[in-house]
């Protein structure tokens, strides 16, 4: 990574997506704290009438944090990292530049449509694919535009070898495209019924068990290509950049990349263990899930070893703290996931709170930490100002870390407690607990989770304030910082 002093990069689109990431982060996680509190204190279900129940808000939470916060983060970092590692500025092609603006406009429309339709209860009801067909079509257009810009930039590039991050962005583009098209295949009812009923309504192309298979082939790989692959793209750029260290091993990067690509897609059926899906597929899902530890830890260890000999930076630079902890949380959730994918463990874990526990040590500790550190690293460079407050960043780190730990430890205990109670039998083989017993027992854990979530959300507000102040009131920088981000 040489200095980029000669080229003037165009960051206008980067800034737009940075702001949407911040805003959707706040909205999505505020809803997260609300639904977490509703499980502990059900009377909170009635704040917004029909629109405020846990069940209506839950998909709003998942969709806003995934398609709002995370996808904004992916686009923001791609437009920044892409220009820099390919050594080409968006300003060099008016066409590509215009496309990015068009994409942003469509993205805002899709996001608004998503929030309104889910709020009204218009949903295809498949997890992480709730949008009805008109929005699905819009998403396809947005994605295609992204592909054109990505390969357009690649076509214009000055640096011939694609940097590691680019591999992962290309894979994100292709993986989501393929899976999204298959999973959202649906038949709009208005065209076949002689114009009856709601125009946006559709039925799935697949039925029952087949539908489940396609859905979790997608669902699992939404995790792969939204929560993992592009996030690895980020850490491969920002950690070496921020620390001034070269990536530890290029060979290990190659091995983990191709390993991850090959193995990930097989593992989807671990969401359907003990279901009516054919047994051999379930076993394949289990086995490949366990093998998945190798490429996952490969990337994570590669990142940690990148810090070799420079561990003192961990105490000096809060951004390094965020990123090192992120790769550690990545290791945690990619160890936990395969454990849950073992059939005998899944028999207890599935359907319980251990699953949201697993989800959130990944998304809070890994995904959101990386997106926030990426944005923080970019801020001084795109706004040409010093980061507003180092101590704020430092406190954010500790508050959020405590938040994540409270979240996943309470859910581990809750999940395993519940899983064991569901199956507990007395000496004659009769069930010991009625279902409601297994709900009441969770109250303390739900409360702890809500507190953890609130701490994390507090950190998000501190982060948003810090970015905002950096953009408007940070000390101006003469020169672009080379490695470590300057902070006051």
């Amino acid at each position: 990574m040489q200095s980029n002093a000669t080229l003037e990069y165009d960051y206008s689109i980067v800034k737009l997506y940075m702001w949407t990431a911040v805003i959707f982060g706040i909205v999505g996680m505020t809803i997260g704290v609300l639904i977490a509190s509703q499980l502990a204190f059900p009377s909170l279900n009635y704040l917004l009438g029909e629109y405020g129940t846990f069940s209506r808000l839950r998909p709003l939470h998942t969709n806003v944090v995934i398609y709002g916060f995370t996808v904004s983060g992916i686009f923001a970092t791609f437009y920044y990292v892409g220009q820099r590692v390919l050594k080409v500025s968006l300003a060099e092609s008016k066409f590509l530049q215009a496309l990015t603006k068009l994409q942003f406009g469509l993205y805002l429309i899709a996001a608004t449509g998503l929030v309104i339709s889910l709020g009204m209860g218009i949903t295809a009801s498949k997890e992480y694919a709730q949008m009805e067909w008109p929005l699905d079509a819009l998403i396809v257009v947005i994605w295609v535009i992204w592909g054109i810009v990505m390969f357009g930039l690649i076509g214009l590039r000055r640096e011939k070898t694609l940097y590691i991050s680019m591999w992962y962005y290309i894979a994100t583009f292709l993986g989501v495209a393929m899976l999204y098209l298959f999973n959202n295949a649906e038949v709009p009812t208005i065209f076949f019924s002689g114009g009856l009923g709601a125009w946006y309504h559709s039925v799935s192309m697949y039925a029952g068990t087949n539908d489940a298979l396609v859905q979790w082939w997608w669902g699992h790989n939404a995790v792969a290509f939204v929560f993992t692959v592009p996030i690895i793209a980020m850490i491969y750029y920002y950690l070496p950049k921020e620390s001034g260290q070269a990536v530890y091993s290029y060979k290990l990067s190659l091995l983990s990349f191709w390993g991850l690509m090959f193995i990930y897609l097989w593992a989807g059926s671990h969401h359907l263990l003990w279901s009516t899906v054919p047994d051999w597929m379930q076993t394949m899902g289990s086995v490949f899930s366990v093998v998945l530890i190798l490429p996952s830890w490969g990337s994570a260890i590669n990142m940690l070893l990148t810090m070799k000999g420079e561990w003192n930076q961990l105490t000096e630079n809060p951004l390094i703290k965020f990123m090192v902890l992120a790769s550690t949380f990545y290791m945690l959730s990619t160890l936990e996931g395969p454990i849950q994918a073992v059939k005998s463990v899944n028999a207890i874990a599935h359907f319980t709170d251990w699953i949201p526990g697993h989800v959130h040590d990944g998304v809070l500790g890994w995904v959101a930490f990386m997106i926030m550190s990426g944005i923080m690293h970019m801020s001084p460079r795109v706004f040409k100002r010093e980061i507003y407050s180092k101590s704020l960043l430092e406190s954010q780190f500790w508050i959020q870390t405590i938040g994540v730990v409270l979240y996943f430890t309470s859910m581990w205990i809750a999940g395993i407690t519940q899983g064991m109670m569901w199956r507990a039998v007395d000496e004659y083989g009769n069930l010991v607990y009625s279902f409601i017993d297994t709900v009441s027992v969770l109250h303390p854990y739900y409360t702890i989770r809500a507190v953890g979530g609130l701490l994390y959300l507090t950190g998000v507000f501190m982060f948003a304030f810090n970015v905002f102040k950096t953009a408007t009131a940070g000390r101006r920088l003469e020169q672009e910082p080379r490695y470590r981000s300057p902070m006051a």
């Binding site: 499980l39 059900p42 279900n45 009635y46 069940s55 209506r56 998909p59 209860g121 218009i122 949903t123 295809a124 009801s125 498949k126 997890e127 690649i154 070898t161 694609l162 591999w167 894979a171 292709l174 993986g175 038949v187 009812t189 208005i190 076949f192 019924s193 002689g194 009856l196 009923g197 709601a198 039925v203 799935s204 697949y206 039925a207 029952g208 068990t209 489940a212 298979l213 396609v214 190659l254 690509m261 090959f262 897609l265 989807g268 969401h271 003990w274 009516t276 899906v277 054919p278 394949m284 028999a347 359907f351 319980t352 699953i355 083989g429 009769n430 069930l431 279902f435 409601i436 709900v439």
Partner: protein, 222 residues
Amino acid sequence: MFHWLEKNPFFFAVGVFVVIAYAGVIEILPNFAEKARPVKGLKPYTVLQLAGKEVYKKDNCIACHSQLIRPFKSETDRYGHYSLSGEYAYDRPFLWGSKRTGPDLHRVGNYRTPDWHANHMWNPKSVVPDSIMPAYKHQFTNVADLETAYAEAVTVKKVFGTPYGPDIAPGKAAYEKELKTKILPEALKIAKRMKRDDLVKMVEAGKVPEVVALVAYLEKLK
């Protein structure tokens, strides 16, 4: 090793695509060759039940309830026979869920009654004092979208060959006829079993409350 690939984005992308598509070809496609076969005697959902399924989707019961009984004694003791693939043959989309904040519902029609549901949807704590489920009072006044449910029945019949009779046909006239002869009478029966006069009155006036459709759907889950 692969240094050539990293300089040739086109072949790189093709390589990635092949590697990720491979698993789908081997693992997912074979099951599609074998079309979902209904278990013997399985009837497609009536239009009223389809409308109820839409309410189930709209208020997103799937956030907390599964419809998949796994083959363990602890589950079959609690919920009934374990689920069979053929029972889902008409489920588009499938509604298995991934989280049991509340109990499984795949056979709830076996052990709850319409009037129990009426009390429960109005105020869960009245029948299960410790329940953390929200009350869904708006379902008692919102009117179910029967026309869209009918459109769905027509679509699955035409596109996927779901075995509905000749009465399920495109167009407004066919819908109006079905509404009068089948849907409303079926709804009235359910409403009466729910033992609430306001619901019966609404159905008699030709408007089916969401909760009546929902209960028709829950009754079908056996």
